[in-house]
């Protein structure tokens, strides 16, 4: 620690004596992800996404060198704010990438309002109200959110899988609320049922799911599970060990690579599980294939997953947006980033998963994928593409004022009686 402080002091001294022209040749970018706690594995993949985008731009944008400073949180809003404040107020970053988890995003958005000269770009946090209600003018989300990610899944479960009654198991915070809303809204509109009494909300970081598994009802067709990271691995392996037999429907991060690529015994349980999200492992498209190849080139054998997770993808897209906009304004942040944010607002670019642009509240409109877990050719579990929903917006094509009448996401919205 002392040594570290010494280095910081030294660096500060060097910066102080260096000529201003030299100091302005670098732009400091903060990268915040959950490198601790239940979402540590997703957090590490998020940082990989940032590194991929920086590598692609050769760590330079708008003629300036980009210096990445990373921070860590543990998925709690308090820890995200602590890390963001440290990056913004002590390290002096001008662009922030992050955070990863839903409720962290809500907290960082509120903090962004107090720092109008810093540009905040999301990581993968995907709670609805980060941009839908009371958005911050300097918070951008190119990675879409949890309800958008569910596009097509409710219809698929009802029409193709013929499920009529489901139970819900999810973590108890804003992102799973958003996902449950995104899944149940179309499912219940078609006539599906998900009783409020058959929805189980567990705290993040819960280890022991045995009693929750015992409490799951028998008289349902499937269980919709929206858990992430270690929570998903714990549940899926305990469900398999308990001999659970009901089919599952997965939230976007419940059966993604951070879970499928883990060492837990979950194979039998997850194969055949439908899900939806912003990526699909097997999408047959040159842009996606190039992205996967680059990921494998950089991280195969160095802790990376068999295929990039949606966290690597989300952080990559958000970082790439920042770098593209910096190129447009030639790295000029002397006006407190005003020009940069104007460039970001009108940015439209090709991502590995198709065209991305922003709505008036700075939330992305992008393509979504309907997937199903299968065993890949080399034995890895992957999400096979079943369908693509083109250009999904946060309000699903409904007018903004109309969409607000659906009410904020919560444990009981939609009621689905």
């Amino acid at each position: 620690m002392l040594k570290c402080a010494g280095k910081t002091l030294l660096a500060a001294a060097v910066l102080a004596v260096a000529s201003p022209a030299v100091a302005q040749d670098t732009i400091k970018m903060g990268g915040l992800a959950t490198l601790e706690g239940a979402f540590a594995a997703p957090g590490q993949d998020g940082i990989r996404g940032i590194r991929m985008a920086l590598e692609e731009f050769n760590h330079t944008a708008g003629g300036k060198k980009i210096e990445l400073i990373t921070g860590s949180s543990d998925a709690s809003p308090a820890s995200a704010i602590r890390a963001t404040r440290k990056l913004v107020e002590q390290d002096g970053v001008q662009i922030m990438i992050g955070p990863l988890s839903g409720s962290e995003g809500l907290a960082v958005k509120d903090y962004a309002k107090t720092k109008p000269n810093v540009t905040f770009i999301n990581g993968t946090s995907a709670a609805q109200d980060t941009t839908l209600r009371k958005p911050a003018p300097n918070f951008f989300r190119f990675s879409t959110e949890g309800a958008q990610w569910m596009a097509g899944l409710g219809e698929y479960a009802y029409k193709v899988k013929k499920y009529r009654k489901v139970a819900v198991l999810a973590e108890d915070y804003s992102f799973p609320y958003t996902q449950v809303f995104g899944f149940l809204e179309p499912f219940c509109r078609l006539g599906g049922k998900a009783s409020v009494n058959a929805r189980f909300w567990v705290p993040i970081g819960n280890k022991d799911y045995s009693s929750v598994i015992a409490a799951l009802p028998d008289d349902v067709d499937a269980i919709y599970v929206a858990l992430g990271g270690a929570d998903a691995i714990n549940f899926l392996s305990q469900y398999q060990q308990a001999g659970g037999e009901l089919p599952l429907i997965g939230g976007s991060i419940t059966v993604d690579q951070t879970v499928l690529g883990s060492k837990g015994k979950i194979r039998k349980t997850v194969i055949g599980t439908p899900s939806a999200g912003p990526i699909s492992d097997t999408w047959d498209d040159p842009r996606w294939k190039a992205f996967v190849a680059q990921y494998k080139k950089m991280f195969a054998g160095k802790g990376g997953f068999p295929s990039p997770s949606l966290f690597a993808h989300g952080y990559y897209i958000n970082t790439k947006a920042a770098l593209l906009a910096l190129n447009q304004v030639k790295g000029d942040l002397s006006d407190g980033g005003k020009k940069l944010r104007a460039a970001l607002s009108s940015l439209k670019f090709e991502s590995p998963t198709g065209m991305v642009s922003l709505d008036p509240r700075r939330n992305a409109i992008a393509d979504m994928f309907l997937t199903e877990v299968v065993e890949g050719p080399d034995g890895n579990l992957v999400n096979k593409t079943i369908g693509v929903t083109k250009q999904v917006s946060q309000t699903f094509g409904v007018k903004y004022e109309e969409f607000l009448k659906y009410g904020p996401v919560s444990r009981t919205n939609p009621p689905c009686k």
Partner: protein
């Protein structure tokens, strides 16, 4: 006031009635009114088993904790770190050798040795100064947590359950009778029953060791009067180191057993330290049988809370603690 004999008869009668009711709840096919009142039988029986098996795991951790306290009056707040370190070491060894049982043995031995080192190198220097020892253990637990985070990162580790213990077994307990007349039996994970079995074996082993061996006699004598034991020619330092080794080793052992049932990750050290503290406060500091009763109570409270009122479940544990402190401050089996 009733006479003691009468009170005892009433107590025994109560226990017999309670046990009979419990047996009926487990083995009978539930009538509809009961299902309407408290839900399905499957939920109840599974939660009951979960509570008992979790209690078994808590007992493994807390027995070492209470043993060390009983003899040395040293509240070892680094006990949770030993649990976590045991889990990590066991994981590394099991991964490297492919044998879960070998990992378990190495975790026990490694943490037992680290316990001896702690006792010889640190605690002996401040013998009789309990407050200082306790503060030092807090320091050790903080340093250990950071070192473990640096070494094993924040990722969650899960053991491969040994093949023979994997999967669910069908219990001879009928959950419901289908309309066709076919009974549906309750399934339960094999591994969790094994955890319970291991806890019972360790509990009986400890009891026999303390009550039927010469060293056990020395330990019990030391609990009552350390100075007298030293004066009668026993090498107290040897006894102390041995007890510390067993207590720490049990924590490491529990790290592997518990890490396989659930998983290991940073923060588990605090969780199990807190669980051990609550267990020994409820059961009575220094008493192994108290630790067993406390562990069972806390395990059941946690699981029933999680199954029947998940949002407020955690309160139940602390209500039990408050109740015990109010009525019997020394703990259920504790002596003043």
């Amino acid at each position: 006031m009733r006479k003691p004999m009468q009170r005892r008869t009433i107590l025994i009668l109560g226990i017999v009635l309670f046990a009979a009711a419990l047996l009926w709840l487990v083995f009978a096919v539930w009538p509809d009114w009961l299902i309407d009142a408290i839900g399905r039988k499957k939920t109840f029986v599974n939660t009951l088993l979960n509570g008992i098996t979790l209690g078994g795991l808590y007992f493994l951790v807390a027995s070492g904790f209470t043993l060390v306290f009983g003899l040395m009056r040293n509240v070892n707040l680094a006990h949770g770190s030993m649990y976590l370190l045991g889990g990590y070491i066991g994981y590394e060894v099991a991964e490297a050798t492919g044998s879960w049982f070998f990992g378990l043995a190495v975790a026990f031995l490694a943490i037992a040795v680290s316990g001896i080192l702690l006792q010889v190198a640190i605690f002996r220097r401040m013998e009789g100064d309990e407050l200082r020892q306790t503060l030092v253990t807090i320091g050790i637990s903080i340093i250990a947590a950071d070192l473990m985070l640096a070494t094993w990162t924040g990722t969650t580790y899960q053991f491969d359950t040994p093949d023979g213990l994997y999967g669910a077994i069908v219990l001879p307990v009928i959950s419901v009778v289908k309309s066709s007349g076919a009974p549906v039996f309750i399934k339960y994970p094999m591994y969790r029953l094994t955890v319970l079995g291991v806890a019972v074996v360790v509990g009986i082993g400890l009891w026999l060791f303390l009550n039927r061996t010469r060293i056990g006699m020395m330990i019990r004598a030391g609990v009552n009067d350390r100075e007298m034991l030293a004066a009668s020619g026993v090498n107290v330092h040897f006894v102390f180191a041995l007890v510390f080794a067993i207590g720490a080793g049990l924590a490491g052992f529990a790290g592997v057993v518990g890490g396989t049932a659930l998983s290991i990750a940073p923060g588990e050290d605090i969780r199990y330290l807190l669980a051990s503290l609550v267990v020994v406060i409820v059961g009575g500091l220094g008493s192994v049988s108290g630790a067993a009763i406390g562990a069972l109570l806390i395990g059941l409270a946690e699981q029933f809370g999680l199954a029947y009122f998940p949002t407020y479940g955690v309160v139940l544990t602390f209500l039990i603690m408050v109740g015990v402190l109010a009525i019997r401050p020394q703990g259920i089996m504790g002596t003043r």
